[in-house]
């Protein structure tokens, strides 16, 4: 029954840049205005504001805008706000919004993710964490050994894949090469990708943490992405093509990357299909979190597009994941090609493709089913989006 369903209605995105002079709150406003206009709504119809995470006071560049600030700035009367880092992963903000509208708590929820990690570098005093004398919490188990970046943590999962299943750098490189190719056709990615990455250039790149090289790591950017989630019984209020959230899943493991046997993508991936009659064979395009190039491999395997261990073969040569391939992947460029939008870019692109509004990078054949994912290590969330 449609009234109990949740739909993505408006989607919006600010300019994506590197060291943008525009304040992150204003970037959020840009994205929100675009999403609201597309949905045909006004701000006074929004009654929920969700994000992942909320405002990060220690590391402001990572999450510079809180749900409370959006409620304040946009004059929203909100029934619910949610911005916890404790959610499964980035896209679970959209999943939780879907839950809120299905429960009848909210009618139209504004979900946003704003990042200012490139701009924050230019103004570290205001946006970056103060240098601490000591490390505590989860980082005390990694930082003392200079495993200070998620690159080092992800690298260890990737290295095991290389060792156990024979993943090659040529295979892994297809994720970055494919992302760059698609980013070249995405006007919003111009600040991030200026020329196409070749496999030769990828192979020559300097190593960060084996097997991950420079091009396996996404690039800091400044941007905001807004997704409006609406209740099925409120669709008469909107003016765009609604995209149904057909299923959602999440997984939260111990927040100790080194104590987790498999990334949470495997659990969240498996769970997604228990909540729908759709199967991987129905998916027309996949938008997989690629903060590091290895992560889409965990999603390909976790969601059952191939067997565990066979992700490398799946992307071999890059034809299967190309825009005209069997499973067009990260058609806007992903985070490797279009900037570290921190998950929300994948939902934005999935909706854009399903609506046939992706311009030059639009995939052929009237796509009807898309999957968007987010997260790495012990956190994962997935959304199945359909046009039906």
């Amino acid at each position: 029954m449609a009234s109990k369903e949740a739909y993505i209605t408006g989607v919006g995105q600010s300019e994506v840049g590197v060291r943008l002079p525009r304040h992150p709150l204003l970037l959020t406003l840009d994205a929100a205005k675009e999403a609201i206009a597309e949905a045909g709504l006004t701000f006074d119809q929004i009654d929920g504001v969700f994000s992942f995470p909320g405002k990060s006071h220690g590391y402001l560049a990572f999450s510079p805008v809180g749900t409370d600030e959006i409620i304040e700035a946009l004059g929203i009367k909100s029934k619910w706000q949610m911005g916890g880092l404790e959610q499964p992963a980035q896209l679970s903000a959209i999943g939780m919004a879907a839950w809120a509208v299905k429960q009848g708590i909210c009618r139209h929820v504004l979900c946003f993710r704003t990042v200012y990690e490139a701009g924050g570098m230019a103004d570290p005093a205001q946006y970056m964490p103060a240098r601490s004398e000591t490390v505590s919490g989860a980082s005390q188990w990694t930082s003392p050994f200079w495993a200070t970046s998620a690159a080092c943590w992800t690298a260890q999962y990737a290295a095991r894949h290389v060792h156990k299943y024979g993943l090659t750098r040529q295979q892994l490189g297809q994720i970055a090469v494919n992302g760059s190719k698609n980013a070249m056709l995405n006007p919003r990615a111009r600040a991030i990708t200026k020329e196409e990455l070749t496999l030769d250039k990828y192979m020559d790149a300097r190593m960060i943490s084996t097997p991950l090289c420079l091009y396996d790591c996404d690039r800091f950017s400044d941007a905001s992405t807004v997704i409006i989630v609406s209740a099925g019984d409120a669709l008469d209020e909107i003016k765009c093509e609604p995209i149904r959230i057909a299923a959602m899943s999440g997984s939260v493991d111990r927040y100790s990357w080194d104590q987790v046997e498999w990334p949470a993508a495997y659990d969240a991936g498996r769970d997604l299909w228990t909540r729908t009659d759709y199967t991987p064979a129905d998916v027309d395009t996949a938008q997989f979190y690629d903060g590091f190039a290895f992560l889409p491999i965990t999603w390909l395997e976790g969601l059952g597009f191939c067997e565990k261990g066979e992700g490398g073969q799946f992307i071999e040569g890059g034809t299967r994941i190309a825009r005209d391939g069997q499973l067009p992947l990260n058609t806007a460029g992903g985070q490797l090609g279009a900037g570290r939008l921190h998950g929300f870019g994948f939902a934005h692109e999935a909706v854009t493709q399903l609506r046939g509004q992706a311009g030059e990078r639009q995939i052929a054949g009237d796509p009807r089913v898309a999957v968007a994912t987010s997260g790495g290590g012990p956190l994962a969330a997935a959304l199945l989006l359909t046009k039906d």
Partner: protein
């Protein structure tokens, strides 16, 4: 000369782990009721929720479960490359340590290598690093 290692803030849960090296001990929290280990250290057993737990000096040997050769200097003056590894501890089922493999060239490290703990002291904190067992 490498910069000092980031220093853990010592508290009730973690002090035995970070200072056990003073006695040459690699301390992992063990449950007095179910006999299983909890790491990172917590105030209760993660298997049976018993509060009857205490640091236990384990063998300090293990095998390299996975590793990466890190080339990026994450801090000013940090010498690269170096190995970051996940070591599976012998006799401590399900417990892994993130650590560095030291005292050998980075390309001499392999999956499944047997390793043993060596402590590096810095201002009263004893960092458990591992070297290959000859």
């Amino acid at each position: 000369m490498n910069p000092p290692r980031p220093r853990p803030r010592l508290d009730q849960e973690n002090t035995a782990f970070w200072t056990g090296g003073a006695q040459g001990h690699l301390n992992i929290v063990k449950c007095g009721d179910c006999g299983q280990y909890t790491h990172p250290p917590r105030l209760i057993c993660r298997h049976c929720q018993s509060e009857n737990i205490a640091p236990d000096a384990v063998a300090g040997t293990g095998v390299i479960d996975t590793f990466t050769i890190n080339h990026q200097p994450w801090a000013k003056g940090l010498e690269v490359p170096f190995v970051i590894a996940r070591v599976a501890l012998d006799g401590v089922a399900g417990v892994y340590l993130t650590t560095n493999i030291v005292n050998c060239p980075v390309d001499a490290v392999a999956f499944g290598d047997a390793v043993k703990v060596v402590f590096e002291e810095q201002d009263g904190v004893f960092y458990p690093l591992f070297e290959k067992v000859a």
